[in-house]
């Protein structure tokens, strides 16, 4: 719930990074004292989040082939393209509206932990069900990279996934990976880097299939919210939660703390947020 990364952001945005640095992954293990960006690893249970986490950080977080293996949050670090990243491995969750303790850990971090990039790890062989979570996260933030994991298994089942099409439809980068063998990890890091540094700005898919009455209600409420909180990137999502009667969000609105839910994704707010910490 706290601002995990304020005060730690680097003064040098990545546009000035020398391009030859890119591609040098340095696994930092648990050494992550100073980070420039926070990356959250979210996704349905048993899609390989911990395997990706291990591949990137060089740590040995336990993995297992059953849903629910990770029940607590694990943190690690890596350095890529001259930036230091803190990466948080979250327990798997099917939805952001869930109730059990392990899923709550994941939900709270995505909502209130303000990660700079949320990597949603999906199971390529069960894409449809995995997209439910992706669409919910996309309502909250556009700083998303979708890892289309378990591509090796998809191939084994003769499935083909058109990742370009998927990226176009979702409006965020999609990277096919097979984390167990390390395939696609360099591309994933590059995508994380591009979203974190703002080189790639997502235009996330918005839920479209709701009945017209509902659509109007959401639009009306979202307009009110935007008036009160200009620059809030996820007014639509806040409106959805308010209409659903989410006590936590109602409280946040009452205290005027809704700004804390914003991810500072617009350039405007980002610079304002950064300016006091410019040290060099």
């Amino acid at each position: 719930m706290s601002n995990r990364n304020t005060g730690k952001k680097s003064a040098t945005p990545c546009e000035t990074c020398p391009s030859h640095n890119i591609g040098n992954l340095k696994k930092l293990g648990i050494n992550m004292d100073d980070w420039d960006y926070v990356v959250a690893l979210a996704g349905n249970p048993n899609t390989g989040k911990s395997t990706i986490f291990n591949a990137i950080t060089g740590l040995h977080q336990h993995t297992g082939n059953w849903p629910g293996k990770t029940v607590t949050r694990a943190e690690g670090g890596f350095e890529y393209g001259g930036n230091r990243y803190k990466i948080v491995d979250l327990p798997g969750t099917y939805s952001l509206l869930s109730t059990s303790l392990d899923e709550e850990v994941a939900r709270d971090f995505i909502l209130f932990g303000q990660p700079d990039v949320t990597v949603i790890v999906t199971d390529a062989t069960r894409l449809e069900r995995n997209l439910n979570l992706v669409l919910q996260v996309l309502e909250i933030t556009n700083r998303v990279v979708v890892a289309l994991n378990l591509m090796d298994e998809a191939r084994r089942h003769n499935l083909t996934v058109d990742e370009r099409r998927l990226a176009r439809d979702l409006g965020v980068p999609v990277v096919p990976t097979a984390a167990r063998s390390g395939d696609g990890i360099p591309e994933l890091l590059q995508a994380i880097h591009e979203v974190a540094s703002g080189k790639v700005v997502g235009k996330p898919h918005r839920i479209q299939s709701e009945p017209p009455a509902l659509k109007r209600a959401v639009a009306e409420l979202a307009t009110e919210i935007e008036k009160a909180f200009p620059g809030l990137p996820n007014a639509r999502w806040v409106a959805l939660r308010l209409l659903d009667g989410d006590q936590r969000i109602i409280e946040a609105v009452k205290r005027g703390e809704l700004g804390d839910l914003s991810y500072g994704s617009t350039e405007q707010t980002n610079t304002i947020e950064l300016s006091p910490e410019v040290v060099v």
């Binding site: 082939n65 167990r180 009110e224 005027g256």
Partner: protein, 475 residues
């Protein structure tokens, strides 16, 4: 970052939300979920193309049909368990002997000579070398090999995707006893370590069912207790049959105890869900993930480094001070009788009543921090009481073959009953202090922590008492 909204604006938002909520009706949540599903289906449909024809032979399906079948599911489960233990028991023998030879037969005299050379006072060399070093070395040589075999095998099964199938098979039984089907998963984790098993219960949503899973996790035989089971089974039960059958029969005995533990899990869950933890069984969906070929070398590496060495380190950390405690209570005397002998004398009548003895009970008290050191403590205390060995009071004797252990225990008055009851009591007694602490952290309640700690001890006393009485009546 952004300008603070005025309270009028906030009021507008909340009142608009309130009004709209009435307008759109109560099924908003369902409509929203439906919309998300529809969008997801549309997008997935455009991106994924399926094979023209489904393959004629689907290996995953075939394996699933076999391992979750009504007829073969349970026998296969027991069979796999048997194979794992048989491999563990027969494979651990040689490395154990080698380590004992290295650390005990050669390492200990060497250290003693060194200590004498630098004129270490007798009590310090006794405390450090006879107490701390010997018990630590014993734990390493007895525990390392079986763990280094058992953990990788278990992790391979886990990686392969077998655990959810176990949960699937057991779900029905758990439902019948009023517990959550996912308890099968936390129970399986408990076979590695109860503290880990207790944390794993977080996957259970309902607090009632989660408490049941936490309280009964102790009935999963944890790695600290496997070596005790394996050693006692090898000496006393494997010793009943000829050499070529010994390995198989000992494995059978150990699996028997483990299965009994699962049975107690069910029985206690049943009891709890009908008395202090009454309630409805919640339904849930559990994915059966696809089988994934385990990455063998990586699994072996991580399970040896992460699991085996960490657990071993914990055992060593606890064994070292326990060794010191044993040495001290064996060497501090009142009226020429050591404290240990007093304690053993007091507890002996009760111990014998339940088919054990005072030494075993004292060992269990010393071993509350870690179950791993029960057997070394028993051996040290037995040596002390018998006054054999000549190496000094409370000193673990140095030749460590199984035959010598058997001779020593028999000299200490052990019978087959003592062995059987020790195996039972090792299964059913209080959790180790780490697990108790974890239970407290997870439940945040002293009451449930106390129940989790005391219930198994009381059950253990009742069980061993019952077995001892029946045994003495009929045998």
């Amino acid at each position: 970052m952004t300008a603070q909204p005025t309270s009028a604006q906030i009021d507008t938002i909340l009142s608009t939300a309130e009004r709209l909520r009435w307008e759109i009706g109560a099924d908003f949540h369902d409509h929203l979920m439906e919309a998300i599903y529809t969008d997801a289906a549309k997008i997935a449909d455009r991106a994924v193309s399926y094979p023209e024809k489904p393959p004629r032979f689907d290996l995953d399906r075939t394996i699933d049909r076999l391992v979750t079948s009504r007829l073969w599911g349970f026998p296969l489960m027991l069979g796999l368990l048997m194979v794992v233990f048989w491999l563990t028991i027969s494979g651990a023998n040689y490395p154990s002997q080698f380590l004992a030879w290295l650390l005990l037969d050669n390492g200990h005299p060497l250290l003693k000579t060194l200590a004498a050379d630098i004129n270490l006072p007798w009590w310090l060399s006794g405390l450090l070398i006879d107490g701390v070093y010997l018990s630590t070395a014993w734990v390493v040589s007895v525990m390392l090999p079986p763990m280094a075999i058992f953990f990788p095998l278990f992790t391979l099964l886990e990686d392969f995707g077998y655990l959810p199938r176990v949960a699937f098979n057991l779900d029905n039984v758990f439902k019948k006893v009023g517990a959550h089907g996912k308890q099968a998963l936390s129970m399986s984790m408990g076979f590695g370590c109860n503290a880990a098993g207790v944390v794993a219960t977080r996957i259970i949503d309902s607090p009632r069912e989660r408490l049941i899973a936490i309280i009964t996790n102790n009935f999963s035989l944890c790695n600290g207790r496997w070596p005790t089971q394996i050693l006692v089974a090898t000496i006393f039960i494997g010793g009943l049959v000829s050499a070529q059958w010994a390995g198989l029969i000992s494995a059978l005995a150990v699996v028997g105890v483990a299965v009994l533990g699962v049975f107690f899990s069910f029985a206690v869950s049943w009891g709890l869900s009908r008395t202090i933890l009454k309630g409805e069984v919640s339904t849930f969906s559990l994915e059966l993930p696809p089988y994934r070929p385990p990455r063998v070398w990586q699994t072996i590496y991580t399970s040896v480094i992460d699991r085996t060495l960490i657990v071993l380190w914990r055992a060593v950390v606890f064994a070292a001070p326990a060794g010191a405690v044993i040495w001290l209570i064996s060497n501090i005397t009142i009226n020429h009788i050591s404290i240990a002998e007093y304690l053993i004398g007091w507890m002996n009548p009760f111990g014998l009543l339940i088919g054990l003895n005072g030494i075993v009970l004292l060992a269990y008290i010393v071993a509350i921090p870690a179950n791993e050191i029960v057997i070394p403590t028993i051996l040290m205390l037995t040596t002390l009481v018998l006054g054999t060995g000549g190496a000094g009071r409370g000193v673990l004797f140095e030749t460590q073959s199984l035959g010598d252990t058997a001779t020593l225990l028999q000299a200490g008055g052990w019978t087959l009953l003592t062995a059987v009851n020790l195996m039972l009591f090792s299964l059913v007694h209080n959790p180790c202090s780490t697990t108790i602490y974890t239970i407290y952290k997870e439940t945040g309640s002293l009451r449930w922590t106390t129940i989790s700690a005391l219930l198994p001890v009381v059950m253990g006393f009742a069980l061993t008492f019952f077995v001892a009485q029946v045994w003495r009546l009929f045998l």
